[in-house]
């Protein structure tokens, strides 16, 4: 073979993953830069805040979320209808390539969340864009959120001493049936938008622009149902799910419950980030559908039709455990009572939920494989998610669900401006 090679052009070039052209090639990267222009930060955008209470039903459509800021999108921002969760393992050869990977994701996210016309490459290359959302890209409420897993801080990239203080590999909890091929990952990419095609478009764009730098480890697509008929959307057990969330309009509460601690217990680079917990929980829906309504409601602690706590009238009523000490109305083993006992001692374990339904075909017995992509943001996984999980061990509901995947991640701080990139404070 060698004798046929042109010696002057043999494969002896640099093995740097990204040369002058960058991951996306000159065209893609320059477009990302050109698309920045002036005023993205100032453009009309949704704010990070949204109506409180049942905020998950209040997601606007057709909107655009600010990409730049102290925090990433997709944390406090109200959930959109469609989502994809991709856990990725980094295949970058070294630390420099890892930085380039972060920059490439940032560049594509910046463009995709702003929208615009993809660059025309003329006759010089295949189209720069998949065309899935048409010739001009609408932001369509897209948010791109990048998080890092504990495995990124092993010996490959010299980041061991940079690990967020509370980041560990997700353990097996007592009722779990975790398949490790559906768990963990160096990175988690959370893509959410008003429509599934925009999510898929972003997924194809970002994976294309980062080939060589990372490999998909597992992937799950999610959706949120419309309010039926009102209030918080229902999960696939038929119950409204996510009613009692912390108030995202209260910065002090968010500073206590969501954003990384600033008391010196975390590395400084984490400021503005959040612990991102994803749990893939199958619901055994055939079994569930054979359970009487009263038993279902006692397991959850809410009425199925209205979503009201069994001590109340309306969905938004606060469960009254004080006047129900023996669990006559809401059994002491009910899901909502265990998860959030609403006592001063458990107040700091509240967490921000941003869950999605998943629907993934059938299992080997022909049973429907569907359930919940339980997603939360936490300041302290042990104090919040793990503590809640501990209280839920052996709850009655555990017979009807089976957690099989997910992981613990840390959502990076936001990119501050058009020169910044996700992961900069970690890498520099």
């Amino acid at each position: 073979m060698t004798k046929n090679r042109n010696a002057s052009t043999g494969g002896t070039g640099p093995t740097r993953m990204v040369g002058r052209r960058g991951f996306m090639g000159a065209v893609g990267v320059s477009l990302g830069t050109a698309a920045l222009g002036a005023g993205i930060g100032a453009a009309a955008v949704h704010t990070d805040a949204a109506p409180s209470a049942a905020d998950s039903s209040a997601a606007p459509t057709g909107g655009r979320f600010a990409f730049h800021g102290e925090h990433q999108q997709g944390v406090l921002t109200p959930p959109q209808a469609a989502a994809a969760f991709l856990a990725l393992d980094v295949t970058a050869a070294d630390r420099a390539e890892l930085s380039e990977l972060f920059q490439a994701v940032t560049s594509r996210a910046r463009f995709l969340t702003a929208g615009g016309a993809p660059p025309s490459v003329g006759i010089t290359a295949p189209p720069s864009d998949s065309g899935v959302v048409g010739p001009d890209i609408s932001p369509d409420g897209l948010t791109v959120t990048l998080s890092v897993g504990a495995s990124l801080f092993d010996d490959r990239y010299g980041l061991a001493d940079r690990k967020p203080a509370r980041l560990v590999t997700m353990p097996d909890f007592p009722n779990d049936a975790l398949r490790r091929d559906m768990c963990d990952g160096d990175l988690l990419l959370q893509l959410r938008a008003d429509h599934a095609d925009t999510v898929i478009h972003a997924m194809r764009d970002i994976t294309r622009a980062t080939r060589g730098g990372m490999a998909v480890r597992w992937r799950t697509d999610g959706f949120i149902s419309p309010p039926r008929p009102t209030g918080t959307p229902r999960n696939l057990m038929g119950f409204k799910d996510g009613t009692a969330n912390p108030n995202i309009d209260d910065p002090a509460e968010m500073a206590r419950l969501v954003w990384a601690a600033t008391d010196g217990s975390e590395p400084a680079w984490t400021a503005g980030g959040s612990y991102h917990v994803v749990r893939l929980i199958r619901m055994l829906v055939e079994f569930w559908d054979r359970v009487s309504l009263r038993e279902q409601e006692n397991m959850i602690g809410r009425s199925r039709d209205v979503g009201a706590p069994l001590t109340g009238v309306n969905e938004t009523d606060t469960p009254d455990y004080l006047n129900d000490p023996n669990g006559d109305a809401i059994p002491t083993g009910a899901h909502i009572r265990l998860a959030n006992p609403r006592t001063p001692a458990t107040d700091s374990s509240r967490l921000l939920r941003r869950g999605y339904n998943y629907n993934a075909g059938t299992d080997i017995n022909g049973q429907l494989d569907m359930g919940l992509i339980f997603t939360t943001f936490n300041q302290d996984i042990k104090r919040q998610f793990a503590a809640v999980q501990q209280r839920l061990v052996d709850e009655a509901l555990a017979d009807y669900i089976s957690p099989f995947g997910g992981g613990y991640y840390f959502a990076l701080p936001g990119a501050r401006d058009s020169n910044d990139w996700l992961g900069r404070t970690l890498m520099n």
Binding site: M1, N4, R5, N6, T9, G10, G11, T12, G13, P14, T15, R16, M17, G19, R20, R21, G25, A26, V27, S30, L31, A34, A35, G37, I40, A43, D89, T91, A114, G115, G116, A117, P119, S120, V121, G122, I123, T124, A125, P126, P135, D136, I137, S138, R208, R211, G212, G213, M214, A215, R217
Partner: protein
């Protein structure tokens, strides 16, 4: 009559929507039809509807064909002859949108009605491009004539490799007759790699390609499929519990089929257009059929085949390299990633033994997948830039 009607319709459209869109804000999605510039292309007038001077930025040309047959329309630089947009095979009653971002310069449409010489349209000056504009890149087209020397070089190379394949197939047959399974297995891998290195030539082999390296019928394995012969059948037999002698007639048939290759190639050599396409398709096939284990008939030598596929890719690239280098700035990256992938694949060979793909741990497998996928991504533009086109003169 037909022509006249079409022209009339289009002229109305021209006067109605003669708007030159600018790229003032690249974040603003441009609406393709509202701002489109209707441009008529034919014998009497080429590029009719676009006149200058125009302001640099994003253009949307709604090009139509006023001839009564097919036509190719290019938008080219009037000075550098680089093509920035094309509409090939434009039908007589078709409107096709060319979206292109033009920086300062002199441009013109070129019309090539089917079977006719090119007709150049009037030169239009583009100026006053906004700062930071990222124009559509242009290249000089590659013609079929440009590709002929490369195809000739490649065909000569294929001819020499077929001789080597033939002698290695003979060695395989001899080993099988001798009854030594280990030697036969090694000889089989040598022959399989020989064949894989001819990765751009399969199309020219016609039915012989299936005879030599066909896969089993759907729902059947290479061992079970009684109609299958060729390298995969031999592989299945050599790695089975069946007596090695059962592979002897298949090997004899293989020698015959390979013997026919030279004659076939003389009649129908590798097509020039295949070189550019195969520069990424060989590894696309490797990802689809080898990396997945789909074409493994028992030897678990997928990594050896991928190593040969990388060599096959380089063998295609080398003759077209003089055409690609001035047209594709990413070629050096593609070379670097080919080398990176080749090194990784070679690291799984110890002596004459290759690791089985399914013995790689997750991190090893992810690295291999990632390297190959990045490589094909970088190779893909080579097919675009070497797609043969009609030059304007």
């Amino acid at each position: 009559m037909v022509v006249a009607v079409i022209v009339a319709v289009v002229i109305v459209a021209v006067s109605a929507v003669f708007v030159s869109r600018t790229f003032g804000s690249s974040r603003e999605p441009s609406s393709p039809s509202a701002g489109a510039i209707a441009v008529v292309n034919g014998f009497d007038a080429c590029g009719d509807g676009w006149s200058g001077p125009a302001t640099g930025g994003a253009f949307d040309f709604a090009v139509s064909n006023s001839t009564i047959a097919g036509e190719a329309v290019y938008l080219e630089g009037a000075d550098d002859r680089k093509v920035y947009a094309e509409a090939e095979g434009l039908g007589p009653s078709t409107v096709y949108h060319l979206r292109v971002t033009l920086g300062d310069g002199r441009y013109r449409f070129v019309c090539i009605p089917a079977g006719n010489d090119p007709i150049a349209g009037p030169v239009v000056t583009v100026r006053d491009s906004p700062a930071g504009l990222v124009p559509t890149p242009g290249i000089e087209v590659v013609t079929r004539a440009d590709l002929l020397p490369a195809a000739h070089t490649y065909n000569e190379w294929v001819g020499s490799r077929i001789k080597e394949l033939a002698s290695d197939a003979q060695r395989l047959a001899t080993a099988i007759v001798s009854g030594d399974r280990a030697v036969s297995q090694a000889a089989w891998l040598t022959a399989q790699q020989d064949y894989s290195r001819l990765g751009a030539a399969y199309g020219a082999f016609g039915d012989l390609a299936d005879a030599i390296d066909g896969d089993p019928a759907a729902g059947s394995s290479a061992l079970e499929d009684s109609d299958l012969h060729g390298l995969r059948k031999i592989e299945a037999l050599l790695w089975s519990d069946l007596p090695i002698a059962e592979a002897a007639p298949v090997a004899a048939r293989l020698i015959t089929d390979i013997g026919s290759l030279t004659a076939t190639l003389t009649k129908t050599p590798v097509n020039a257009i295949d070189l550019g396409l195969r520069s990424h398709e060989i590894l696309e096939d490797a990802i689809q059929f080898t990396l997945t284990g789909a074409d493994d008939a028992g030897s678990h030598t997928g990594l050896a085949v991928i190593a040969a596929d990388i060599e096959a890719t380089r063998a295609v690239l080398d003759p077209i390299r003089p055409l690609v280098t001035p047209r594709y700035a990413g070629l050096s990256d593609a070379d670097a990633w080919l080398a990176r992938t080749a090194t990784l694949v070679a690291s799984y060979k110890t002596g004459g033994t290759w690791r089985a793909l399914d013995s790689l741990d997750r991190a090893q497998r992810e690295a291999l997948d990632a390297d190959l996928e990045r490589t094909v991504e970088l190779l893909a533009p080579i097919a675009a830039v070497t797609d043969p086109r009609v030059a304007d003169q």
